[in-house]
């Protein structure tokens, strides 16, 4: 007879997951990138050189580099932060993590307790919300516009909290290539955010997972680059530039914070091979690779926008983002995107419904479309199918591809 675990599980434990049955046919979720852009030959060569030289070091936890992670990759990250984000730092102040999700978890574990308050962009990475909710932390949302977080709204939020005697634990911002809106916060707003944060003694938690993916190949300095007080904690990843199956992210912060995060990281190290391969791949190849990816991804985005225009016409609203791997799009009145996502998902078209990504009042009109992974033909066919499904379910768009349905 089968042993019954249910009485042993804490209250509210969900049922077992369904077994995974493969990616959907039209996969517009999940933050995957373009398989064709993975620089396989250069990565193979890098991995082989690194293993030949230092392969025997896998016999020791964390190679020969200690708990902050593989020193050559820390130096690479420091150089990348300098070149790309204007941050003056060294490998001494980098903590390599198992993806940027672990970076988020470590920062949250260090700073947050149940009942604490944080400030977040109102529309945000879904994981930001779910992690904070799971920790019992209150989120004060701040509105965005076409340039990212609104500084007037941030000021109001900080003043309101101060009036209640609440000091929020941090301002969380995806300032450069925001998820999901793709916005890049202009330099003047960055200075203003630092001013406000300083005036209220609230640190800034800056997540720059997508910040290398910018069509113009240039961007304003990171908030951390503009601050000299150590009040900004900066995290990033290689997931969106080299590959998300590699589990390597990083944290850059001053030692009073970083040294405590090192102590909290009790996983016996992040993956050795992925750290060795990326370090050996090197920043010059990385530079050229990122420029190539950006050209490819902007082409895919343009194809997506063409398909959306063709199949949804003027019924949808969106702005072409300056970078990133998704389009954040508002569907016409009458459409509720959680239902659209469910119905479309059942037919092989996967999109993220707005409420997972936004605390806005009309979040359920929005969807997030990740366009990096599917080939252009698949993007076109998927958008056409999504429009057909939307029309069948909600009656809109009425006209698609210049054909009344």
């Amino acid at each position: 007879m089968s042993f019954d675990f249910t009485a042993l599980l804490p209250e509210g434990t969900p049922a077992p997951a369904n077994r995974w049955s493969g990616f959907p046919e039209f996969n517009f979720v999940g933050g995957h990138i373009d398989n064709a852009t993975v620089p396989v030959d250069d990565l193979r060569a890098a991995m082989d050189r690194a293993l030949a030289r230092e392969g025997a070091d896998i016999a020791t936890y964390s190679l020969r580099s200690g708990p902050q992670g593989y020193r050559p990759l820390r130096d690479f990250v420091a150089e990348k932060l300098n070149r790309y984000a204007g941050i003056e730092t060294t490998g001494d102040d980098i903590l390599l993590t198992s993806g940027s999700l672990q970076a988020m978890d470590l920062v949250n574990t260090l700073l947050l307790e149940p009942g604490d308050t944080v400030i977040v962009e109102e529309t945000n990475y879904g994981g930001t919300f779910s992690k904070l909710r799971a920790m019992g932390v209150k989120m004060v949302p701040v509105a965005l516009d076409a340039d990212g977080m609104r500084m007037d709204a941030l000021e109001t939020a900080l003043n309101d909290l101060a009036a209640q005697g609440i000091r929020p634990k941090y301002i969380f911002t995806i300032a450069t290539v925001h998820n999901p809106t793709g916005t890049i916060l202009p330099l003047d707003r960055r200075h203003r955010m630092l001013e406000l944060a300083k005036a209220h003694s609230v640190p800034i938690f800056e997540d720059e997972c997508y910040s290398d993916i910018v069509w113009a190949n240039e961007r304003p300095p990171a908030l951390r680059a503009l601050d000299d007080s150590g009040m900004v904690i900066h995290i990033g990843t290689f997931s969106k530039t080299v590959g998300p199956a590699l589990r390597v992210g990083y944290i850059n912060a001053d030692w009073p914070v970083l040294g405590r995060l090192v102590a909290l990281k009790k996983d016996a190290g992040s993956p050795a091979l992925e750290q060795m391969m990326l370090a050996e791949y090197g920043i010059d190849r990385f530079d050229a690779h990122v420029r190539h990816c950006n050209a490819v991804l902007e082409g895919k985005l343009d194809a997506l926008i063409d398909a959306v225009n063709e199949h949804f016409g003027t019924t949808v609203q969106f702005a072409k983002p300056p970078g990133g791997i998704f389009l954040w799009m508002k569907l016409p009145e009458g459409v509720t995107t959680p239902r659209l996502a469910a119905v479309a998902g059942a037919q092989g078209v996967a999109v993220n419904p707005g409420p997972d990504w936004s605390l806005e009042g009309d979040a359920d009109r929005w969807i997030r479309i990740c366009f990096a992974n599917p080939p252009i033909e698949t993007i076109r066919a998927g958008v056409a199918k999504l429009a057909t499904i939307c029309q069948a379910e909600f009656g809109v768009p009425e006209i698609s591809g210049n054909v009344r349905r």
Copy 2:
């Protein structure tokens, strides 16, 4: 001026870690393995073949295998569990993790709440204790003898708890090559443990991190192999056979448990390259490699024991373990090992003091010596230095290397 984070930190947050300054000269801690045994050429070849064939798949989270991990490695683990531990399973019921520490964390997160009770071997992996303490879980220790957990003591513990109306959440056991004692639980005790566990409806959490490292190259079937009710959750790792810098562990359990652990694993996947390389390396090379490692490690253990006999003589007690990478050794009366470890550590000789590894009354007489990493000459020199330090600090051993000190 530097931003002050201290007021934002939860009460009791420790100070920042010290910066890492390299491994100690005589490194008898940390569970590292022998650099010379890492099969670098075979691993390079495996990694290169896998990257050439499937490298582009790193563009998607978890490659093409979903949240349980890279399918070819799941199949390898299933085959390994079958050959080595007698467990009939398939890759469908394997969850690959980022090291076996994550496996422990997932199982603990699924089953435990503050105030819960678990049964543990009285002497145990230090991380077992620290993780359970951090979760606010009560540990009921069960004594060991030369054959591992004593079944009479387990029966008493289960009966005592039942008399108090307490159903423990699990019996945690490192049945095969116990950490730190190295004991292997005999088959009759395994059957008895299952009987007792079944009678009390308490699941077994079986950790087999070291179980491949056995001088005889054979071992009794795993508890999970002897159970057909799904009451055993089995975890293991490649850290001790291929390299701990690789972060790959695994869980094998029936779906009512495994499917819930999959849902709890929210790290966006375990490292891709390490999974690909190990799968491609393959079980036949793994077999030959493990036999080679076992011969090398037993040689190192014998050298360690010779050095201990030479320098500590009859003042210490230990049994030669049948496998593993450590010697668990009792120092003479008057020695307290936390102080010995501190004094020796300051002089470059790192050992684990007993109280981190044992709840026994005389735990502070024991030390754990990891012998896998240092070369034999270093083992000899380190033991000699440890004896000298011990003599200087505690006056014992009086005679060392046949020389009165």
